[in-house]
Amino acid sequence: MTVDTITQTDQYLTFKIDEEYFTVNVRNVREILEYTKITKMPDAPHFMRGIINVRGSVIPVIDLRLKFGMEATVPKSSTRIIVMEIAREGRTLVIGSLADSVKEVIEIAPDQIEPPPEMGTRWKKDYILGVGKYQEEFIMLLDIKKLFSTDELTRIDQPALEEEES
């Protein structure tokens, strides 16, 4: 998927990670939850923080700060978990993503979105679909399909195995 595939004006949810603005299409957002205790999952990649209970269902939570190579999210009063839905091979992957704060829902027209710059960002270009503008700030439109590709999420970090390698 590239920025060219965006052909219509859509609503986007904006949120902040560290000092930067990110956004995802509201169609992919199921709900926004307050921060709650996350149960740590052993053997999983470090950016997969664990699982939470959402009305009786168990949902995995990803820490985008860790995924982007920053320090882990420290929960504050503004911290939220954005529950997203990604359609994949006929199934829907539901995943929660930590955000330092959630801003608002805005409308962005396709011509307001530029392809991601080749250089000059601290974010891995792979996960950015395009760049838009929001109140004079750049906002990164996340490529959640790539970001939440199951291959990366399901990787195993088993301490016993690491020990084997050393």
Partner: protein
């Protein structure tokens, strides 16, 4: 909608038809089986017509004609006939499912049926040889159980010959379920009584499959001196179909205890027939009692049979059951919260309400779970056809024996178990059992046996598939494993470990790829299938003697009993089935072990896994902690945790696709406070521990 019901029913009848045909193959003379087949065909035809499936009805009609011939003795049951009917059944199945069946195909089939009906094919074929198991089967089939009424009036002098009557009744009870009523109206007043005389007589209602002679045999030593009247009341199997058991009055009339007219007279006046009859002194109270007992005996039997047939009679969409189970699951979680909250509140009323809710929830949960339980036999019987067809195709002689078909398992488990079992049985037929010639050369019976059995053991169901075939070739697997780099340089695997390699993806030692198996896909799929059900699979084998595959499955996928533990603030559930004992371990104990993860258990050194280390949980080990000794899949090891919270009944929630590769966790559960606890998989954890140990051993050896 209605046609859907017809379709589901027709498919079920076809399954039954197939089972009956396969049985008939073993016992071609068995008339009740022929009748069962005929009935099945007739039902498919009849309701097919009703719902407008004329093509199915017409087609089935042709097969039905043949069995009409068999019933009337014009046709003999032959191997060909059964094969043809099986093929016909397959065509009907396709038609029911709405799959394409060309008119030409149908006509070809019909003309074969017609030829068969004329006896052409039947005569051309020799009557099939009867397998030895058959005779037993026939006599068992013929032993239809029936309800008997026995009137036993011993002669007055019977005691004088030293006869003890009590053992007679015991012997009758051995024949089957019996209801005994004693008549004592012949007993004289105290003045006239002769203590050496027998004044009593008995009515016994007995359900047995042993026939009249067996009942007569019981009375063999007393029959000369007694009045014994044995009559058959009902065919016990038909009792279930009686809408209402005989009325009391009807029984009395039938037994000749009262005339029909008198009964009618009484009936016109009063509703309570038994009481009235006694009041009017028409019938002795004990006679009424006896008739009542008979009525109840039959009613009980009829209820029992209805219960047995209930799996056919209640139809509920599976999705409704699933919803119910989910709701009950939620309820269990809420109940846990309530219990926790009430305990904290120390409000006695709240506590008692919470306890009541807990009791009800547990009962509701167990009942709901039982709704989803089905006997595993439903899956097993499908394999008969598979074995028959495959062994024919490969020119092998194989019988499939089954045991424990009544073992119950969760419906969804049974469904998902089908494919793995098919794979295993195919493998057994293709690679396991040798050709008859090879078998004879090795001094084995030329007929191979595949034994499929299921038993419940604790919270698990163990299914084993045993064949008496060639077994696995250890050397060949070892060579193959080396070739594929599955055994590390210098590494050595035990025989048992070698066999487990067949579950590796793409592993096959078959040199020839056959139609049936050998492509190396299969066993790993089987393993994944079983593990998806939270089950475990193991293989054992002995060259030239056979292979045994054991599958261990949890009874239900939805709920487990567990032990809730805590380590570093994180909570885990260990399935109760794996827990053996708990031990205390102090810091001194840990220091005394000099860095080895072993604990002294009743004088034996037992390895343990420190969950804190294993899951990389931060924090210090408390002054005193618990080591939980677990046993899973024959391995024993401890799990060290900070503290044990207590028993916990819990609803299992899948952790989802993202964590599918985390092997040591089998699921998650939601605790009373809404947080999530992980359910550990002891089998995987203990296995890891074992491999760490053996790795240490190898290192130590180097």
């Amino acid at each position: 909608m209605e046609t859907d019901i017809y379709k589901t029913e027709a498919l079920e009848i076809l399954d039954d038809l197939e089972a009956a045909l396969l049985e008939l193959e073993g016992c071609p003379e068995d008339m009740p089986l022929v009748n069962r087949i005929f009935r099945a065909l007739h039902t498919i035809k009849g309701s097919g017509k009703m719902f407008g499936f004329d093509d199915i009805a017409d087609f089935t009609h042709e097969i039905e004609n043949i069995y009409d011939g068999v019933r009337s003795g014009k046709l003999k049951v032959s191997q060909d006939l059964i094969s043809l009917t099986l093929a016909g059944g397959d065509v009907i199945r396709r038609m029911v499912r709405g799959e394409e069946v060309t008119p030409a195909e149908r006509e070809a089939m019909v003309s074969r049926f017609q030829a068969m009906q004329k006896g052409e094919e039947a005569l051309a074929d020799e009557p099939p040889g009867r397998p030895p198991a058959c005779e037993e089967k026939i006599s068992a089939e013929k032993k239809q159980s029936a309800i008997w009424r026995v009137r036993f009036k011993p002669g007055q002098n019977i005691f004088q010959t030293g006869t003890d009557l009590a053992p007679l009744f015991a012997e009758l009870r051995e024949l089957g379920e019996s209801t005994v009523v004693c008549h004592c109206q012949a007993v004289p007043g105290l003045a006239g009584i002769d203590p050496q005389c027998c004044y009593l007589s008995w009515d016994i209602v007995l359900t047995t499959d042993r026939g009249e002679q067996a009942i007569r045999d019981v009375f063999i030593f007393v029959e000369d001196e007694s009045d014994i009247d044995i009559t058959v009341l009902e065919d016990a199997d038909s009792v279930a179909h009686i809408e209402q058991p005989l009325r009391l009055g009807e029984i009395l009339v039938e037994k000749g205890d009262i005339a029909q007219e008198k009964l009618a007279e009484i009936l016109a006046n009063r509703p309570l027939i038994g009481q009235t009859l006694v009041q009017e002194k028409l019938v002795d109270p004990s006679r009424v009692k006896s008739a009542l007992a008979e009525q109840q005996h039959i009613r009980k039997l009829s209820e029992k049979q209805k219960e047995m047939e209930s799996s056919d009679s209640v139809r509920v969409a599976a999705s409704k059951l699933d919803t119910l189970v989910n709701l009950v699951g939620e309820l269990v979680i809420v109940q846990a919260r309530l219990s926790q909250h009430s305990t904290v509140s120390r409000d006695p009323i709240a506590v008692s309400i919470a306890e009541e809710v807990e009791r009800l929830t547990t009962e509701l949960r167990d009942n709901t779970m039982s709704l989803r339980m089905l006997p595993i036999g439903t899956t097993f019987s499908k394999f008969k056809r598979l074995v028959r067809d495959l062994s024919k195709e490969l020119g092998k002689e194989i019988v499939l024996e089954m045991e424990g078909e009544e073992t119950q398992l969760d419906k969804s488990v049974i469904e998902q178990l089908n494919d793995p079992l098919v794979h295993i049985i195919r493998n057994s037929i293709d690679h396991g059992i040798e050709s008859p010639r090879t078998r004879l050369a090795q001094g084995k019976d030329k007929t191979g046996v595949i034994m499929l059995s299921a038993t419940q053991s604790g919270a698990d169901v163990v299914i084993s598939i045993v064949d008496d075939g060639a077994g696995l070739d250890e050397a060949k697997i070892r060579a193959k494993a080396r070739e594929r780099g599955l055994i590390a340089e210098g590494g050595e695997l035990s025989e048992g470990e070698i066999y487990q390699l067949v579950f590796e993806p793409g592993f096959s030692t078959a040199t020839v790829v056959s139609d049936v198996s050998g492509r190396g896909v299969g066993m790993d799929v089987v393993k994944r299938g079983v593990e998806a059900l939270r089950g475990h699979i193991e293989i054992a084998s002995r060259r030239h003697e056979g292979t045994k595959i054991t599958i261990r499955l949890p009874l239900t996928l939805a709920i487990i009993d567990g032990l809730l533990v805590e380590t570093g603030g994180e909570k885990y559930v260990i399935p109760q089935a794996a827990v053996v004992e708990c031990f205390e371990q102090t810091r001194e104990d840990i220091e005394n072990a000099h860095g080895n993860n072993v604990i002294n258990v009743w004088g034996q050194m037992m390895p343990y896994i420190c969950l804190r280390q294993r899951f990389a949980i931060a924090g210090d080990i408390p002054q005193s902690r618990r080591v939980i000794l677990c046993e899973a899949n024959g391995r024993k090891a401890g799990l060290a945790v900070d503290r044990v919270i207590g028993n916990y009944q819990t609803v299992i929630k899948p952790v989802g696709e993202v964590y599918k590769n985390v092997e040591c966790i089998s699921g998650a559960t939601i605790l009373g406070d809404g947080t999530v606890a992980l359910i550990l998989d002891p089998v995987k954890l203990l296995k890891e521990e074992q491999s760490v140990l053996s790795r240490d051993k190898i290192r130590a050896g180097q």
